[in-house]
């Protein structure tokens, strides 16, 4: 049977991807951020998972305002890299895991999560930047990926509590997949940031620290943060943090924090990387 072994919370700032693509990660601006990524890359290479479920949001790349799926799962063999308005990132296309993805879709829908199913979908920086951060620049990504999109562009996104419950249902679905896979779940986006309006540039280190601490101390309390509180305290785009709850819900209650990195700024954003491991998988 498949099992979830670890969770990775990771910001997906486009400028981080651009820094990797342009080969400038060692400069004075980027080095303090990238120095914190090495440990995570070594950890992930050693873990060598068989598949990843990446929870992320599309940023007007695959989906326009014509169709706005709240929760979506990608079941394709392969996901091309989106042109987000400046040409596609020079990274490998993302190989899917159709068998696991379809199993998840069936299990989640029967478990009362009404997933949208995508057979054809380009993926944007929301998915590829966390892969670049944790895997570097390989010729092909080291494991197949099930993309799981959450709408956070059109208000309202799903609540943190709903996202956490989706994570619970994902854990149940993975556990019933009849193949001996070791799976990691990425929760991407965040932390505090605001990209729009006169208030652009808002960063709230105290909020972010409490959120990071809460991932192990009391994740259920974090699920009660309201949308308005996210936007007021962590910036209008800080609401992306609801996606971390999907990852957290997919892990065991007593999952252990094994690594944390937090840095301000990555362009307009507080960037974080946190690794959680299921004790049962150690």
């Amino acid at each position: 049977m498949a099992r979830i072994v670890a969770g990775i919370a990771c910001s997906h700032v486009p400028a981080i991807g651009a820094a990797i693509d342009r080969g400038i990660t060692g400069n004075a601006y980027w080095d303090p951020l990238f120095r914190g990524y090495g440990t995570a890359r070594e950890w992930l290479a050693k873990l060598a998972p068989d598949a990843a479920i990446v929870v992320y949001n599309d940023h007007a790349s695959a989906f326009s305002l014509d169709l706005i799926p709240t929760f979506l799962i990608g079941v394709a063999d392969r996901f091309p890299i989106a042109d987000e308005g400046f040409g596609p990132r020079p990274v490998p296309a993302v190989e899917g895991h159709p068998a696991l993805a379809w199993h998840l879709a069936e299990s989640l829908i029967l478990d009362e999560f009404d997933m949208t199913i995508a057979n054809r979908m380009p993926v944007d920086h929301g998915l590829t930047v966390p892969l670049s951060i944790t895997c570097g620049q390989p010729a092909s990504w080291p494991f197949p990926v099930v993309p799981l999109c959450v709408n956070v562009v059109q208000y309202p996104p799903p609540t943190g509590a709903r996202c956490f419950k989706l994570g619970r249902a994902i854990a149940k679905a993975v556990a019933s997949f009849a193949s001996d896979l070791r799976v990691v779940v990425y929760g991407t986006g965040g932390m505090s940031h605001q990209l729009q309006g006169e208030r652009a540039g808002l960063i709230n280190r105290a909020f972010d620290t409490a959120f990071l601490d809460g991932m192990t101390r009391d994740p259920m309390a974090l699920t009660r943060i309201t949308h308005t509180e996210y936007m007021r305290e962590a910036g209008s785009e800080g609401i992306e943090l609801v996606m971390w709850h999907v990852m957290r819900g997919a892990l065991d209650d007593d999952a252990a924090e094994v690594y944390r990195h937090y840095h301000v700024p990555a362009s307009n954003t507080a960037a974080a990387l946190m690794i959680l491991e299921n004790r049962s998988a150690r």
Binding site: A15, A60, S64, G85, V153, Q194, E198, R199, G201, P265
Partner: protein, 142 residues
């Protein structure tokens, strides 16, 4: 659709809710077209003519042509969409963020390096009209 929301008290913030989405659909649909390289070239070659393909309001059209980044938000633009206009111009998210907050790019970049804009004094419209640097002035729609 005009029911006040509790997040309306957050200063300098344009939550992309139903009210703005109904207004902004044509504008954001134009922005979405800029994901295609041929459309980017056509837009830059003749902006006014390219905009004729979309049912923009006069105000939305003005904001696009004048690169009025705050005006675009007020006219129903969503930042993930309107930023695509900036990408056509070779601008970055920081360039546009600086313009929206009304400071030179260098000032904005320095604020970010110093830890970003503090939430202190910037949580509620009532408290944000004066005070130390980083506090934002009140917009008509913030």
């Amino acid at each position: 659709m005009s029911t006040p929301r509790d997040y309306d008290t957050i200063p300098g913030t344009y939550v992309y809710d139903a009210r703005r989405s109904r207004l902004g659909y044509p504008l954001n649909t134009f922005c979405m077209s800029l994901n295609d390289a041929a459309n980017r070239a056509a837009f830059l070659a003749d902006e006014a003519r390219f905009l004729d393909r979309f049912a923009l309001s006069a105000e939305q059209r003005r904001c696009v042509l004048e690169r009025d980044w705050l005006g675009l938000l007020r006219a129903g633009g969503n930042i993930y969409y309107t930023i695509k206009i900036a990408f056509c111009d070779g601008l970055t998210f920081q360039d546009v963020a600086a313009a929206m907050s009304g400071v030179p790019k260098e000032t904005y970049a320095q604020m970010m390096l110093a830890g970003g804009r503090s939430p202190e004094g910037n949580r509620f419209t009532a408290e944000a009209s004066s005070g130390p640097p980083g506090r934002i002035p009140q917009g008509e729609d913030g």
